[in-house]
């Protein structure tokens, strides 16, 4: 893989200012927390810093189990050995927002406690800084943002690699690869490798069919960043993604991009109109409505803003469907209980679900548990 072959040298990494800061804080043994999207170079920077500045790197990442005692042992060992042998250790806790609530029980809490007590060289990374789990941890360290790399930065890197691999390319092709990577260097290098032919030409013809995520993100960028009717209304035409799924992407990311309430209002208004056309298509089976749906959700949203926003949030896929699924799992138990209430009290299951809080308090009475024949699972749910 070219991603391994072309690990950049420290001074080749685009985030020089951030790197200088990290080196500085490490010297003072102040814990550092890096955040930014995947593939922008957080881990690479640390690996290179360790190498160039003679730290022995101790790395734990998301695939390791990291509960309270493990973290304590690791950091404890690192600091002790330091005193025994005198060598410098750098502890890298990668992707700490991946510490799950139950499996890595107490992990974050332990980490927070340790870094405020121990003097050690510690760097942590995460994707999302606004994560409740790391709220208290944040206060104990210096926070450094790794912004997505710019198209130019990525283009430069790609060109370097292409030259070394003797690939013939057009500048426009390289920048197109760079643009669609959405700041992810690693992704861009992989794209470069996969789209280089045996004859060492760059061939992007079927790039669009392989990677939807880049495509939709480009489309979102168009819609959110420009105010031009023609380009934005066409933005979804060649996308290999169901229009309704595109709709979800736009709906989810709109308030992340538009922050002024008036823009949100106007944007959502257009989306809700698009949605009306969608339901009309279903009801009337009149497919020309699709045109209105798609213009409203693209150009409609684009023109909803008064001015363009300069900040670019990283667009994400909606988690709504996943959440719906999880809620259904949870509500399943409630539904089972409601069914039993319904049988025994002559009301509908729907009614029992809606008025569930009315029952919750007294259903746990022994005789009633027996009468309704509630299972242990259901009793546990009631007691929650």
């Amino acid at each position: 893989m070219w991603t391994d072959k072309y690990i950049p040298e420290l001074k080749e990494i685009p985030h020089q200012r951030e790197i200088d800061l990290i080196i500085q804080y490490l010297k003072e043994k102040i814990p550092v927390l890096l955040y930014g999207p995947t593939g922008v170079g957080k881990t690479t920077s640390i690996i290179k810093i360790a190498k160039d500045h003679n730290y022995e790197l101790l790395e734990i990442n998301a695939s390791d189990k990291r509960n309270k005692s493990e973290i304590e042992t690791l950091i404890g060992n690192a600091t002790q050995q330091l005193s025994l042998f005198g060598g410098k250790k750098l502890i890298l806790l990668d992707e700490i927002d991946g510490l799950s609530g139950t499996q890595d029980k107490g992990g974050i809490a332990a980490l927070t406690k340790i870094i405020s007590k121990t003097k050690a060289h510690i760097v942590m990374t995460c994707n999302e800084i606004e994560n409740d789990k790391i709220k208290s941890l944040k206060k104990k360290c210096k926070i450094i943002e790794f912004k997505p790399n710019t198209t130019q930065e990525i283009s430069l890197i790609l060109k370097e690699i292409a030259k070394k691999e003797n690939i013939t390319f057009k500048d426009s092709e390289i920048s197109s690869l760079a643009r669609r990577s959405n700041g992810d260097i690693r992704g861009a290098i992989i794209d470069l490798q996969v789209n280089s032919t045996l004859e060492n030409n760059l061939d992007l013809t079927d790039l669009s069919n392989r990677e939807n995520k880049g495509e939709i993100i480009n489309a979102l960028t168009l819609i959110f960043k420009s105010k031009d009717f023609n380009t934005t209304s066409q933005s979804l035409t060649n996308i290999d993604l169901d229009p309704n799924e595109c709709f979800l992407w736009i709906e989810y990311n709109l308030p992340k991009e538009y922050t002024k309430t008036e823009d949100i209002y106007q944007g959502i208004k257009k989306l809700s109109k698009a949605d009306i056309f969608k339901s009309r298509i279903i009801r009337r089976q009149y497919f020309r409505f699709l045109i209105y749906q798609s213009i409203l959700m693209t150009a409609g949203v684009a023109l909803a803003k008064k001015e363009k926003y300069s900040l670019k949030p990283s667009y994400k896929k909606t988690s709504r469907l996943l959440k719906i699924w999880m809620a259904n799992q949870r509500n399943h138990k409630k539904k089972l209980i409601a069914e039993k209430i319904s049988i025994h009290t002559h009301c509908s299951i729907n009614h029992a679900i809606k008025t569930y809080p009315h029952y919750k308090k007294f259903l746990v009475k022994k005789s009633i548990i027996k009468q309704l024949d509630l299972s242990d699972d259901e009793i546990e749910y009631l007691n929650k």
């Binding site: 308030p255 309430t261 949100i264 209002y265 339901s279 279903i282 679900i353 308090k361």
Partner: protein
Amino acid sequence: MTSDIWTEKYRPKKFEEIIGQKEIVLRIKSLVEKKSLPHCLFAGPAGVGKTTLATIIAKELFDENWKPNFLELNASDDRGIGIIRNEIKNFARTMSLAKIPFKIIFLDECDSLTRDAQQALRRTMEQYSRSTRFILSCNFSSKLIDPIKSRCSIFRFKPLTKENVDEIIKKIKNEESIEIDEDATKILFEYSQGDLRKLENLLQSTSSVTNKITKKELEEIISFAQPKDVQEIINLALNKDFQNAKRKLLNTMLNQGLSGLDIIKEIQKQIINMEIEDNKKLEMIEQCGEIEFRLVEGSDEFVQLQSLLASFTR
């Protein structure tokens, strides 16, 4: 076997035990005595005795034989009339064993049936009318198609009055040896609005905590049963915090299993009671109406509710 759930324990078993609804009970009673029951439509709000009266009819007509001659179905759960039709078919096929030449089918919450389902129901009623009597129940008779209504004798149930409610409270108080003070009695009436199911459930919940029931205990249980989520969603939107309003909306819908219509009804109710400038209030209500219309027309609940919240942020 008597149930430990109060709505069942205190469900009247004879005509005389029904509180309120006097004229209805009288008319039904004489029909039952003559053993000539037409198809009936019971219309009225929840928890006022519709289901209760239907079961009493069956008990009076069939005595201890009532169970095999009485089929209770709920239109809102079984959705599609298909399932219902099957059950009805099986039930109606065998003749009634009692001296009465018909069986009774009680179909609850008929207003949740679609128009197509209602048409199917009407045909089913015709098909089996020799061997069965239908008692239909609904909240709003206006939601039923005319051909169904014209086949039924319509009985309109009223919400129970303060006196009615006091009567049942007194009964429960004595039976369960609990104390309920004057203020609490008032709250029970206001909160239940004459819906005895709601009232009895609330009382049983509260009494599982204490047997001296005062205003304070009741209010605690009520606030627990009436989550403030919707109010918070509105407030977030009014404070221009759209992102969090949106997030809270989704969580509330998912965690409590509420539909878009449940939410919009609640939003509308809350707005009416809010202390905001009149013009703003009117505008918000108007917007609710528009969104509710869209929901009824089948638009995406979450998207449409978002647009409602966005309009509140202005």
